[in-house]
């Protein structure tokens, strides 16, 4: 409930300056909705699920330990972390040159690139995943083309394994990285680059010693946001992964759908939620969120 306090104290503190501060009341519906429809369900889900556990606290801790140290959970934890790291690095390597291009180019080229990023960005994740399933399937376009060209004789296993998950997730998350990097790179003062060049530095040297260090901030924000989104991913790994690619979110879903085991689902959700929120707090510290809305 600290959220309510944060929303209301500034209003009461500034109350004497009558008409202007009534505008703050306009925020009430938004907070009411967030609290009733988002915070309350989350808190209730955790509190009630744990409260409904039959048995003593010691038994509960025992069970929780069993679950959190169990082989499936630890494996899923490792898989989630590994997939998320690879996806983050892949997307960073792919996205950095694109964002760099966007900040330096002008005209029709920029429009085409922005459109190619924005169209997939706003297309439903399930549609994007489906299109990769069509491309990477046993008789998909990629395999058929390779077979027809004679490069391979049997279809390559491109889907229902780790590779499929990595391709699908990188595709879905690339726009987040490019847009974050672009916002950071746009803030780099071009006169610094000109200064470096006029002092006799080569283009490559200027990039390595001036441009790249200045963009590191964006690299960190982009990597964090992609990692945060990756560890909670469900749809793409569930559809494109194999039996060795169970991520945490899928384990949570299975605990509920297959075993109807609410306490396990709640416990795993809680750990995932805590990790996500801690990373989001770091993201909050290092990122100027106001930049997202174009403020200076």
């Amino acid at each position: 409930m600290t959220v309510t306090a944060a929303a209301l104290t500034p209003a009461s503190r500034a109350a004497p300056k009558a008409p202007r501060d009534r505008t703050l009341l306009l925020m009430l519906p938004a907070w009411a909705m967030l609290i009733v429809m988002f915070l309350v369900p989350l808190v209730l889900f955790f509190v009630r699920t744990f409260a409904e556990f039959d048995g003593t606290t010691a038994e509960f801790i025992d069970q929780a330990q069993d679950l959190l140290l169990s082989q499936p959970y630890l494996t899923a934890l490792g898989t989630t972390n590994w997939i998320s790291l690879i996806v983050t690095v892949t997307v960073l390597l792919i996205g950095y040159p694109i964002a760099y291009y966007l900040t330096t180019a002008t005209g029709i080229g920029v429009r085409i690139v922005v459109l190619s990023i924005v169209l997939p960005y706003f297309t439903s994740i399930i549609v994007r995943t489906f299109s990769w399933m069509v491309l990477l399937g046993e008789h998909g376009l990629v395999n058929n083309t390779l077979m027809a060209s004679g490069l391979i004789h049997a279809p390559l296993p491109l889907m229902y394994n780790r590779l499929g998950v990595l391709i699908g997730m990188s595709y879905v998350l690339l726009p987040y990285m490019v847009l974050t990097l672009y916002a950071a790179m746009r803030a780099i003062d071009p006169s610094l680059l000109r200064a470096s060049a006029s002092l006799g530095a080569s283009g490559f040297y200027t990039f390595c010693r001036v441009y790249f260090p200045l963009s590191l901030h964006g690299v960190l924000s982009g990597a964090l946001i992609v990692y945060i989104l990756s560890i909670g991913f469900f749809i793409t790994p569930a559809l494109m992964g194999g039996q060795h690619d169970i991520m945490i979110a899928m384990l949570i879903d299975r605990a509920l759908e297959v075993a109807v085991d609410w306490p396990s689902a709640a416990l795993m959700s809680l750990t995932l939620l805590i990790v996500t929120l801690v990373l989001y707090a770091i993201y909050y510290r290092i990122t100027d969120i106001r930049r997202l809305i174009g403020a200076r």
């Binding site: 959220v3 944060a6 929303a7 500034p10 209003a11 503190r13 500034a14 202007r20 505008t23 703050l24 306009l26 925020m27 938004a30 907070w31 909705m33 967030l34 429809m37 988002f38 369900p41 989350l42 209730l44 955790f46 699920t49 040159p97 694109i98 760099y100 291009y101 459109l115 190619s116 924005v118 997939p120 706003f122 297309t123 439903s124 994740i125 399930i126 549609v127 994007r128 489906f130 299109s131 990769w132 399933m133 069509v134 491309l135 998909g140 595709y171 690339l174 560890i231 909670g232 749809i235 979110a249 879903d253 995932l272 939620l273 996500t276 929120l277 989001y280 909050y284 809305i293 403020a295």
Partner: protein, 266 residues
């Protein structure tokens, strides 16, 4: 000598754009396939899958559910988000950055957790399969998007215009309706479009909360992808892509309109 890295970069970016757009284009082409199963390139073209999509009662129902739920989410989140964005910019208070990041948490928390928590509450309240409730749940996810779009739209409105109108004797409500709203109307409309899109594309919350009655298009695609991939999905996907593309075009037009209005206002 200096230009070849530049060409290399351009080539790379062009290739990446192809990589980004190709899957979407291929699905659209597949949707017009005349073959009996998903094969690329199709040997003949037809509208058979669209006919199946629009002719099937279950798909029709899913489309209707998606539209109704999207409309609820869009209206609720745009209205609430608009007031919040306005207050956020005009009121003076401390901790704005913290408040904004708290209001953005619905898009940060993994959707599987949000979905399960909402499912738990809806189950308790007997609201599974309730269109209005599902629309409100989607509004929670759509509001952060609305907020970001409207904050940047409202920021462009000069507060001096409002002060001037107030100084000329307009009431707060009147100034709001006659000065602020007309200037930011394009921004509000584009926020509404994206809010609708956010709900229209949402899968996990719908998956848990829809029950049998309120199954949306993404839920039906999901079910079908998990059982057997029927080619109708390509047509449904192409339809969703078309909606996305239309909304992006509309947003582009609205943005130009907004710039013109702001220029006219100052």
């Amino acid at each position: 000598m200096r230009s070849w890295p530049r060409y290399l970069l351009r080539l790379y970016v062009a290739l990446m754009c192809v990589w980004l757009v190709a899957p979407i284009v291929i699905v659209v082409i597949l949707a017009f396939s005349g073959d009996g199963y998903l094969r690329f390139p199709p040997t003949s073209l037809s509208l058979q899958w669209f006919a199946r999509f629009f002719g099937n009662l279950q798909w029709q129902r899913a489309l209707l559910s998606s539209l109704v739920i999207g409309a609820i989410a869009c209206i609720v989140s745009t209205t609430i988000g608009f007031f919040a964005a306005y207050a956020f910019l005009r009121a003076e208070f401390r901790g704005k950055k913290l408040m904004l990041s708290l209001m953005l948490t619905p898009v940060i928390v993994p959707s599987i957790i949000t979905a399960i928590a909402m499912y738990y509450l809806a189950g308790r309240l007997g609201l599974i399969g309730n269109f209005l409730w599902l629309g409100l749940c989607h509004a929670v996810i759509a509001m952060p998007i609305v907020l970001l779009i409207l904050l940047s739209a409202l920021r462009a409105v000069d507060p001096n215009l409002e002060r001037a109108a107030l100084g000329l004797g307009g009431s707060h409500t009147r100034v709001f309706c006659r000065v602020v709203l007309p200037i930011v109307l394009p921004g509000v409309l584009s926020a509404a479009l994206f809010a609708f899109l956010a709900s229209f594309d949402e899968l996990l919350i719908s998956l848990f909360l829809a029950g049998v009655r309120a199954q949306t298009l993404p839920v039906r695609i999901w079910n079908s992808l998990n059982l057997q991939v029927e080619p109708t999905i390509a047509a449904v996907s192409a339809f969703l892509i078309a909606i996305t593309a239309l909304i992006l075009v509309a947003e582009g037009i609205l943005r130009q309109l907004g710039q013109r209005r702001r220029r006219a206002a100052t």
